[in-house]
Point group: C2
Chain length 344, copies 2
DNA sequence: CTGTTAGCGCATTCAG
DNA sequence: CTGAATGCGCTAACAG
C-alpha cells in the first residue's frame, strides 16, 4: 500500500535532489543539515526503497539460491540452520527450492535461480550430472555443492567414505565379523555408494573372515522395519544402518521380537542426532555436523563472492559416538550406561 | 556470465523490434513467421529475461516471504513441504527468514520481506504482537499466520486447545486422575498456553478428583529428561508431554530407572510423527498434520492474492493416535501391540 | 558536498 | 499485427 512513495517524493519533501536522498541511503557524503531533513522526510512518508529498481542498477541481489533434496529431514534442517547463521547477519536472504531427490530437478532449479539473479547458489545434491558441472563452471555465479563431492567442483560435505570406514574398523576392533549393511538405493551417491564402500573397506581390511551382506531399504523407519526379517536371515553379529533412521526402524523390530540388543545382535547408525540417544539401547553412531557443513558452505560461497577463495573440496570432521548398541565380542557385553546426559 | 544478453540483442538478431520480442515472451500476438525468428534468436543467444527489470515493471515478484521460528524441527520441515507443494508448481518461490523463536525478529523479518517486494508472506509465529497486526492490515501484501491464532487476522493452524482437550478427555476416560503436564514456557502461546489450557479443561471437566500439576521444560529431549525427577515427584498416573520430544525424553528417563510404561505410569505426547512409533512402548499421541497446514496456508494466500478470499481463521483437524504408552486404569493393562506397521 | 543527466532491461501505451 | 516512444525507481558518473 505504501510502496507508492518513491525516492522522488522524499526528495521533494526534503527540498533536495534525488541523488542526495540516494546518497543518504548509501553512505555517500551529505551535510548534517540535509541529512536531518532527509531523515525526517523518510520517516514522514514511510519510504521504503524499491528492491527491484535498486537491483536493476547494482546487479547485486543479496539473494542466495538454495536447492534442497527435501524439507522434512533433520539433516536438511541443520544444514539450513548453519546457512542462515552465516548469511543472515550479513543481510543475505535465501531463496529456497526443493528438488525432491531428483538430480534433474536440481538442475532446473539451479537454472531458475540463475534467472532470478541470485548472487550465489548452494545445492545439497543427490547426484552430480554433466549439466551440474556446466552450470557450476559457466553460469558466472558461484555454486557450492554439499551432499556430494565431485572433482573439479566446489564441494563441502560430510566424509561419507571416511565415516563408513571408521565404523567398519571400529566394529572389527570389537570382534565382529558378520555384518549386514542396510542401505539406500544408489540414487544417492554419497549415502548409497561412498558410505557403504567405506564400511566395506574398513570392515574387511586385511582380514579374510569378515563378510558383509547388503540389504536395500528406503530412508524411513518403516521401510527399514519391513526389511528387518531379511536382514536377520543373514545371521549378522552386527547390523549397520546407513542412517540412524534405518537403524531405529530395525531396533524397533528387534524389540518386538524380543531380540536383545546388543546381547544377541549389535546395531549401529550414521547421523548422530539426539533421537538415537533416547531409544533403548541408545544407538552407537557417527555424528555428522550438518550445521557445520552449512556454515562452511556459506562462508565458502561468501569468499568466492569476494574473489578471495580458491577451489576447494572439503570434508568435515567426524565424531564417533559410542553408546549402548554394540557388543564387544572380545570382552563380552559392555557395561550399560544409564544416563542420557552422557550420550547426547 | 551470459546474463549480458538483453531483449535488445535478441531483437536485433531476429530483425524485429524490442516490443515484438517482449510480446513473444508474454503471449502477445505475433505472426508465426516472426515467432519462429525470435525463438531461434533466443535459443542462439541463450537469452534469459532479467528478473529485476521485469519485476520493476510488473510489480509482481512471484516471491513468497516465509518466516520460520527455527529450521531444525520436524514440524517446520513438514510445514515447508506443504508450502512448497502448493507454491512451487505455480512458479512461486520462497524467500526464507528465521526468527529464532523471537516475536520481535518476526516483525523485523516481515518488514524486510515487505521491502523485498514479496507478493505475500507466511509467518509461523510464536507470538502475535501489536506490530504484527499493523503489518498484516496495512502493508498491502497479504499475510497469513500459522502457529498462532489471533482474532481479526488470517490464521491457519493446528487446534491446540482442541488437541489438549481431546487428550484430557481421553485420559479421564481411561480412568486417570493424577496428571503432570510437562510443558514449555509461555513464550509460545499456542503450545505453552492453549494446548495446556485445553488439556486442563478436558481432564478436569465435570470431575473433582482430577488434579494436574505443571512442570516446565524446554523443547528438547534433554531438558525434559532433566525434569523427569521433578515430574515423578508429583506421583502422577500419567505424564503428558506438551510435544512428542518432551515425552521421549521422559520415556528414556523412566527406562533408565526401570519404571515400566504404561504399567507403572502412562505417558502421552503431541505431534504424532514417526519417531514416537519406534520407541518402546510406542507413544500414544495426537497427530498434527503440519504439511496440511502448509498446503492450506499456501492456498489461502493464493486466494487472497487473487482477491477471492474472505477473512479466515481456520484450525486443522486432529487425529488421535492410540499406541502403547497409556494404561487403561479401568480395565487394567492394555494388550500390547507388537507391530510397527499398525502404529505409523 | 550537491544537483543534473543518463541509463539499468523490460512492458506497454500509441500510432500506424 | 508491429515499431517507436515512454517510463518503472533507483544509482552513478559528471560537472559544478
Amino acid at each position: 500500500m505504501d510502496d507508492k512513495v518513491t525516492i522522488t517524493d522524499v526528495a521533494k519533501l526534503a527540498g533536495v535532489s534525488k541523488s542526495t536522498v540516494s546518497r543518504y541511503l548509501n553512505n555517500g557524503y551529505i551535510s548534517v543539515e540535509k541529512q536531518e531533513r532527509v531523515r525526517a522526510a523518510i520517516a514522514e512518508t514511510g519510504f521504503k526503497s524499491n528492491f527491484f529498481a535498486k537491483r536493476l542498477k547494482t546487479k547485486e541481489s543479496k539473494l542466495i539460491g538454495i536447492v534442497l533434496p527435501r524439507m522434512d529431514s533433520v539433516s536438511v534442517g541443520k544444514l539450513l540452520s548453519g546457512l542462515a547463521r552465516i548469511f543472515e547477519p550479513l543481510g543475505y536472504q535465501g531463496l529456497l527450492l526443493v528438488s525432491n531427490l531428483s538430480a534433474e530437478k536440481e538442475v532446473s532449479s539451479i537454472e531458475s535461480l540463475l534467472q532470478q539473479g541470485v548472487d550465489g547458489i548452494i545445492v545439497d545434491s543427490v547426484r552430480i550430472t554433466e549439466r551440474h558441472r556446466q552450470l557450476a563452471q559457466n553460469s558466472g555465479v558461484p555454486l557450492v555443492i554439499t551432499g556430494q563431492s565431485e572433482a573439479g567442483l566446489d564441494c563441502i560435505k560430510i566424509d561419507d567414505y571416511g565415516a563408513g570406514h571408521m565404523m567398519g574398523a571400529y566394529l572389527r576392533g570389537q570382534g565382529h565379523s558378520r555384518a549386514v549393511f542396510a542401505g539406500v538405493t544408489e540414487t544417492d551417491n554419497a549415502v548409497g555408494i561412498e558410505r557403504r564402500k567405506g564400511f566395506l573397506d574398513g570392515f574387511t581390511e586385511g582380514e579374510n573372515d569378515a563378510t558383509v551382506d547388503f540389504v536395500q531399504t528406503g530412508f524411513d523407519f518403516l521401510s527399514a522395519y519391513n526389511k528387518a526379517a531379511d536382514i536377520l536371515a543373514c545371521k549378522p553379529s552386527v547390523i549397520v544402518g546407513a542412517t540412524d533412521n534405518i537403524s531405529l526402524g530395525i531396533l524397533r523390530y528387534l524389540h518386538e521380537r524380543g531380540i536383545k540388543v546388543p546381547h544377541e545382535v549389535s546395531v549401529t547408525g550414521f547421523g548422530g542426532y539426539d533421537v538415537g540417544a533416547v531409544v533403548y539401547p541408545a544407538l552407537t553412531t557417527i555424528f555428522f555436523d550438518y550445521e557445520l557443513v552449512g556454515m562452511k558452505a556459506a562462508q565458502f560461497l561468501l569468499d568466492k563472492l569476494a574473489g578471495k577463495a580458491e577451489h576447494e573440496n572439503l570434508a568435515m570432521p567426524l565424531l564417533f559416538v559410542e553408546r549402548e548398541s554394540v557388543r564387544n565380542l572380545k570382552k563380552g557385553t559392555p557395561g550399560e550406561s544409564y544416563d542420557l546426559r552422557s550420550m547426547i
